[in-house]
Each structure stands twice: as C-alpha cells, then as structure tokens.
Symmetry: C2
Subunit: 304 residues, 2 copies
C-alpha cells in the first residue's frame, strides 16, 4: 500500500513566453502543482497551499484527477500567485519578467489534523518561514525533504538554515547547491551540504544534464532522459521532486537501491513534464506510461 | 589478444595558464598524445604524427612506456606545434591565446607498410585533408572513427564531409555536433549526423556533463565520472576517444554492449586525465586502476 506524501508549496497562474515569441497566459503552475502531478504516479498526495478566488475550477479538478487530497488547500480572497517568464532561444535559460505574490503574501499554511502523521513530507519551493510552519505542525519523525531558490538563500538565510537542519533530504538545483555551500565543485558542494546539515541524502539537479545523488556512501551521477523536443521545461524540477518523493512513499524505503530507483522514476516524470505546455503532458500521462519510461531509462543508462 | 589501434593527430607543446594565474610552459600535449595514453590501457597504439626537433626526448620515452609504436612518427626540422591556452575560473571554459603550427604546416602523414592493415583507426583532431591522407593509405575496411573542431567545420567543410563519409563512427563535442548538423537539440543532432553520414555510431561529448552515445537503435546518455578536484581538463576529450577506441580494439567488437562498455572505459580514462597537469596523471595510471574505475563507474550509474 503506497503511503501518502504531504507537500506544501506554491500554486500559480503562469504566463510563459516561448522562444518563438508566443505567450501562453494564466496556465496552471507553481512548485506544488508540478509536485502533485509528479508524485501522483506513485503515491497519493496531500496538499497544503493557497490559491486566490481567480484560480480556475478546472485546474482544481485536474489536481483531484491525480488523486490529490485538497483538504489543506486554502482558497483566499484576492489573486493567485503569478509568475511571468520568458524562455531564451535554447530553452535552457529563462528570465523572470514579473512576480505577483497575491494570496501568498498572507498565506499561513495550516496542516489538517488528518495530515499530521504523514510519514513523507516535501517542502517545495516557498519562503522558508512558511516551510517551517508546516514542520511545526507535523507529528512524529516524517522523512522531510526541502527545496529552495536563490532569493531565499540570499534573503532568508537564517530561516532557511533552520529548515534544512530539520530535514533529512534536499532536492535543489546545482546553482543553488553551489550558492548555499560556497563550493564551486558539485561533488564538494554535495559533501559540504550533507555534512553541514546532517542530511541523509541530497539530489543536485542539473536540468538537461541530469544530476547527482549524494548519500554518505558516495555520489551517483545520472544523465537526463534524452528528448528530441522540449515543449516547456517549466516545473521539470518540481515534477522531478514529485516523482522522487512519490517513489519513496510508495516503496516506504530510503535505502540506496530505492533512492536510485526514485531517481529513475523522477527522471521519467521530469522528462514527460517537458513534453507539453504547463501540466498538459503530465495530466495526460498514466502511471503505467511513467513506469515504462523509468524502466527504459534504467536500461538505457546501464553501461555494463 | 587485443588488436592495435592506429591513430593520426597532433603532438604539441602546450603552455597552459590555470585559473590561479600559474602558467605551465611546454608541457606535452596534442590530440594524439592524449589519445595514445588513453588507448594504451586497453590496446597497443600505432602512431602517425610529427614533432619538431625541439620535442623533448623524455616525452617520446613517455609514449614508448605506454606501448606506443612510434614507427610512423616523423621528427621534422623546425618547431613542434604549440598551443597556448588559459582556463577561466570554473575550469569549464578556456580561451586559446596562441597557436603556432610549426612542423604541422608541412606535415604529410605517411602510414608505414606495417600499419596498413590495422583494423581500428582513429583520426584525431587534425586538418581533414591530413586525416584523408591516412584513410588513403590503409587497406581493407578498418573501423574508422574521426574527431574534428570548429575551425575545420567552418573552414574545411567539403574535405571534412568527405572524411566523415569514409568513417563508421565519430566522437565529437556537443557544440561541434550542433554546428555540423545545424540542429540545436542534441538528440536531433545525433540522428541527423548518423543519417547524413551513414554512421554506425556517434559519441557526443559534453565535458563535465558526460555525453550521448547514438546508434541506429537509439540514444544512450551517460554522465561524467564525478571528481571533487579538476587539476587540468586539457585533453580529456582526446583521452576519452583513446579509451573508447582502445576498448573496441581490445574487444574486437562494436555491438551495443561493447560500445557501452567502451563508454565506461573512456569515462574512466578521461576522468583520470583531469586529475593531473598535462599527461602526468595518465602516465601514472595502470590498466588495472583504469579498469577498476570503469567498473566503479558502471556500478555507480546503475539505477536499478
């Protein structure tokens, strides 16, 4: 029986401009939206988040279709968090054109009583003070894993440090790992973060170049799933985290074997996320399809 | 009994400035020098190349220690090819400060009679007209594989196209693959190059991010071996090609299983090359040590 994953993060309405100049307005986004979809292929998801009254009902229906439990979702007066971004020619870089925090400015995450004993917890990208509020409300010793971004590393460092210290794992981008650790070499950055925060595992993501899984026994590099076409890389990292945590919750184990299988499942999810605009590709994917791609990826990367 | 590999390429005296400002003058370099060392862990190497009268005898002794057959090496009046380069802060980028072609200006590769039936041939980075001269002199149908760089793609395209058409495989950097194919996506670039030149296999190298092996059955991404310290990445790609061709020659097979094992062997060699200045780290490595790292890499990258 797969265990549920509890996650807090942002839900957003994104406006994305593609390299061809075409703009897609008010599509569903946010770290939590991608996480929900990514995790749902393996495990049920319990959601703590907030949207404004403008958040389209069809997007909430989309979360429900993915088995998401929305008991912890707050619909607040005001507007949903908005992100406007533009992708540069090669799709590997993007610029943020605008951010409107909307209801996230006053969001106070409340973990429903029913959720408080959840054993797998992911703190998706959000202000560390709000991530801490969720940690405060859960009971027992869940496997807590967090993500963060540059703005919180630079502007909320003491709060972020406290959150990471309360976590067993971390899933972040390479640039963020370098920034937090002060190490330019990724192997050293992983070792530094693991030691400083006493983490059991770390995943350092490198986008189209895959990433690095780091545990006390060593580091394990992995490539990305090769795609001939990237429709929209938005949320690939968040859906990767979803696939990763969903796998761990499903297996109930965090040994090296399952961390590696989780990496394959996460890679399958993240690559699928890139194949359509916003959540469209993940919304159309099936657990069987994701499992098949994960198995293909395991085989593809086996060198001997 | 491992088969020999025949290779033509450049032998150089490099002057390398490191990010800390320290300059190392007249160290041994060139595509062929790194290739020889890389291949030598698996197979004997037959060398076609040229140096000037200034090329230190100790460097020739170094090639001999690696079982290199130097019958095809010409010692010409004049100076050895020189490359001067400076690495930028993160070691992933470098600028070429100067190139002095020296004896390579008048080099006419001659393949000794004894070498002409060699079954494994690597055309390391060199003017395509000179690569073609070697192809003209070999008999039978060797497995011919080539490398090239931007300057020849832009300035010698018709000659380069003819060389690639006479090869069964290609080992090039990602940027070069994109430039030759006109495709920005690496999966598409690999497919385009394979079809256009009717290649049996391609390896697209991405430096610290590993690369992509492409065969008619599909593409197989691989990461780089994780290093906590890069002393000098010069020649990593050439030693990768050496390890790759050396493995194929040793196994005598080019099926997918051996292409994948060759990739692991090549990755072990390339990572070792980065651990010391110039050829120092490879010169100190043993076949057993390289095999152990290749086996470690196979295990490390196995996800399930």
């Amino acid at each position: 029986m797969p265990q549920p994953v509890l996650s807090v993060g942002s839900l957003a309405l994104d406006t994305i401009t593609m390299p061809n100049g075409r703009t897609h307005g008010n599509v569903v986004g946010g770290s939590l939206a991608y996480f929900i979809h990514g995790a749902s292929f393996f495990s049920p998801v319990r959601v703590v988040g907030a949207v404004g009254e403008d958040f389209p009902r069809k997007y909430l229906e989309g979360f429900k279709k993915r088995r998401a439990d929305l008991l912890g979702l707050q619909i607040l007066p005001g507007r949903t968090f908005q992100w406007h971004g533009t992708y540069l020619a090669d799709m590997n870089n993007r610029v943020t054109d605008a951010l409107h925090f909307g209801v996230l400015e006053s969001f106070d995450p409340v973990v429903p009583e029913k959720y408080r004993d959840t054993k797998f917890l992911f703190l998706a990208c959000l202000q560390p003070e709000l991530q801490a509020r969720v940690l405060d409300q859960v009971r027992g010793s869940p496997l807590a894993v967090c993500d963060t971004i540059e703005v919180y590393i630079r502007g909320h460092r003491p709060a972020l440090d406290r959150v990471i210290r309360r976590c067993q794992g971390m899933i972040v981008n390479d640039a963020e790992a370098k920034l937090i650790s002060g190490e330019d070499n990724l192997v050293k950055a992983a070792a530094g973060l693991r030691k400083k925060y006493r983490l059991s595992f770390l995943v350092l993501k490198k986008g189209e170049h895959g990433g690095l899984l780091a545990v006390p026994d060593g580091v394990f590099p992995f490539p990305a799933y090769p795609l001939a076409r990237i429709a929209d890389p938005t949320g690939a990292g968040d859906s990767f985290a979803g696939g990763f945590m969903g796998w761990l919750a499903k297996s109930g184990k965090t040994d090296l074997r399952n961390l590696k299988l989780a990496t394959a499942g996460a890679t399958a999810v993240a690559s699928r996320a890139c194949e359509g605009l916003s959540l469209s590709s993940l919304a159309g994917a099936t657990p069987a399809g994701i499992r098949a791609r994960a198995a293909e990826f395991v085989k593809m990367t086996r060198l001997g």
